[in-house]
């Protein structure tokens, strides 16, 4: 029995089921008009953990994005030493970035998750980190793990089967972890002699950037007007 689909077409019955489940919840529990819309990173509080290592940004990004599932390496930050000296050997280490950290889903908000995606990894000069897996914790308990190593640096979408799809209810605390792996493919260059001075014409962090973007696919059920107002354009009524 499969646990995911890679084709959106094949997954539509499951996606429809998630949508209908939210719709049924709305009809049975919501006393106010509601909307069901696509899940965005902000709906799970993603967005305040852009650089888990290497830097301490003083401000948070004001716009949430799944791209917060990123990695910025301390050792890469000092690439001039790493590369010029050939010191940054592959570590094969796994790095964890908590992209959603104990986020409490607001009251009267339900979230249905039907898929997971990564849009690959990228970076510069063999410092690309691979996305390995994602873990979802609900209420402090691990409830789902997904392997994302397939396709390497390329993108990947997995749509869940009914058993894997999940509805998150109001007040639930959610944590999402993304795991990255150092691929271990640094290239060494000529090694300067200790005691010399090296002028670096390019900023130290020019090639230190490595990204992997991973996120969840789903729906949000919430009261109308909180994010958007309902608008059914195919009925004869105005906004």
């Amino acid at each position: 029995m499969v646990v995911y689909f890679t084709s959106h077409s094949e997954a539509l019955p499951v996606i429809r089921k998630v949508y209908k489940t939210l719709e049924q919840i709305a009809k049975s529990t919501f006393k106010v008009p509601y909307v069901i819309r696509d899940l965005t990173p902000a709906d799970l509080g993603a967005g305040n953990n852009f650089f888990p290592e290497g830097t301490s940004p003083s401000t948070s990004l004001p716009i949430n994005s799944w791209s917060l599932a990123s990695y910025f390496s301390t050792e890469d930050f000092q690439y001039t030493s790493s590369i010029a000296m050939g010191l940054a050997q592959p570590t094969g280490n796994i790095f964890v970035n908590t992209v959603v950290n104990n986020y409490a889903i607001p009251s009267d908000t339900y979230i249905g998750i039907y898929g997971i995606a990564k849009n690959g990894s990228f970076g510069a000069y063999n410092t690309v980190y691979l996305i390995e897996k994602m873990k979802l914790y609900v209420g402090g308990s691990l409830v789902r793990t997904w392997d994302l190593s397939e396709n390497g640096y390329e993108g990947l979408i997995k749509f869940f089967t009914p058993d894997q799809a999940i509805i998150l209810t109001p007040g639930t605390n959610v944590t999402v972890e993304v795991y990255f792996k150092d691929p271990g493919s640094y290239t060494s260059f000529s090694t300067p002699v200790s005691g010399t001075t090296v002028d670096v014409n390019v900023g130290v962090n020019n090639i230190a950037l490595s990204f992997g973007i991973a996120g969840l696919l789903g729906f949000v059920l919430e009261p109308a007007g909180r994010t958007i107002f309902p608008y059914d354009p195919f009925k004869d009524r105005d906004v």
Binding site: R16, D38, P62, Q78, A117, Y125, V204, N206, D238
Partner: protein
């Protein structure tokens, strides 16, 4: 081949990723939009044509956002990781002096208002049923820099930049009625998505339209950018634009 208008099931989801899957739904929406337009313009011969950017107040879909993304002074809410010229660091007895240009990695997040209260002309119905996104600076190596270590040789290094769209908001008559999540960002190979009637928009004559594009972008020396467009049709009287 005749259009199959027997397709009527209500889609309980918000988008298709395959055009082939979406065709019946798009046909349903265009037919429905045509009926609504026809009802409001009885006696007029209507045409259906593909949506182009000026129909919703944009000069071009593929605006050169790169210009914005690369203008670091244009975005006060971004921040930078400091690596200023003149600094140096000593590692294992080797002093690394950071000299010009000492490029920084710049992280920005902002909202671009790409359509601002554009009023749809009379007798014009606009149906938006999909979107298309192309990102620059992610999979493509968009430039090279040459690093001189003063060690007897230059090393050419690729630059990678990145831009992403967390969401796209559409306002009609001042009310935010859609927040599109471009799921297409999740797949390198995909650049289009097609809305179901749950998520599509039919914009009627006289409505005002505003569109906000939320972006996050990261660059150092090269630009990062987004090309963004909507897919749709315009229904209007014959002769108004086309004869």
């Amino acid at each position: 081949m005749a259009i199959d208008m027997t397709y009527t099931p209500e889609p309980e989801f918000t988008y298709f990723l395959d055009y082939k899957d979406a065709i019946p739904e798009i046909n349903w929406m265009i037919d429905r939009a045509y009926q609504i337009a026809k009802k409001s313009m009885p006696g007029k011969e209507l045409i259906i044509r593909e949506l182009i950017p000026e129909d919703i107040g944009m000069g071009e879909w593929k605006k050169n956002w790169n210009t914005y993304f690369n203008d670091l002074s244009n975005n006060p809410i971004g921040y930078t990781i400091p690596a200023p010229p003149g600094t140096s660091t000593v590692i294992n007895g080797i002093t690394y002096n950071i000299t010009y240009p000492a490029q920084l990695i710049n992280v920005h997040a902002t909202v671009f208002n790409v359509v601002n209260n554009y009023q749809v002309p009379r007798d014009t119905y606009i149906l938006i049923y999909g979107l298309d996104i192309i990102r620059y600076g992610r999979t493509n190596i968009i430039g090279n820099i040459v690093t001189n270590y003063n060690l007897g040789g230059n090393v050419t290094m690729p630059l990678y930049e990145y831009a992403d769209i967390p969401y796209i908001d559409v306002y009609l008559n001042g009310n935010r009625v859609r927040r599109y999540y471009p799921v297409v960002i999740a797949d390198f190979k995909r650049d289009s998505m097609y809305f179901t009637r749950k998520n599509a928009l039919l914009i009627r004559p006289g409505y005002t339209v505003s569109i906000d594009l939320a972006v996050i972008y990261i660059n150092n020396q090269g630009p990062a950018g987004i090309d963004f467009s909507f897919k749709g049709v315009v229904i209007e009287p014959k002769g108004k634009t086309l004869i």
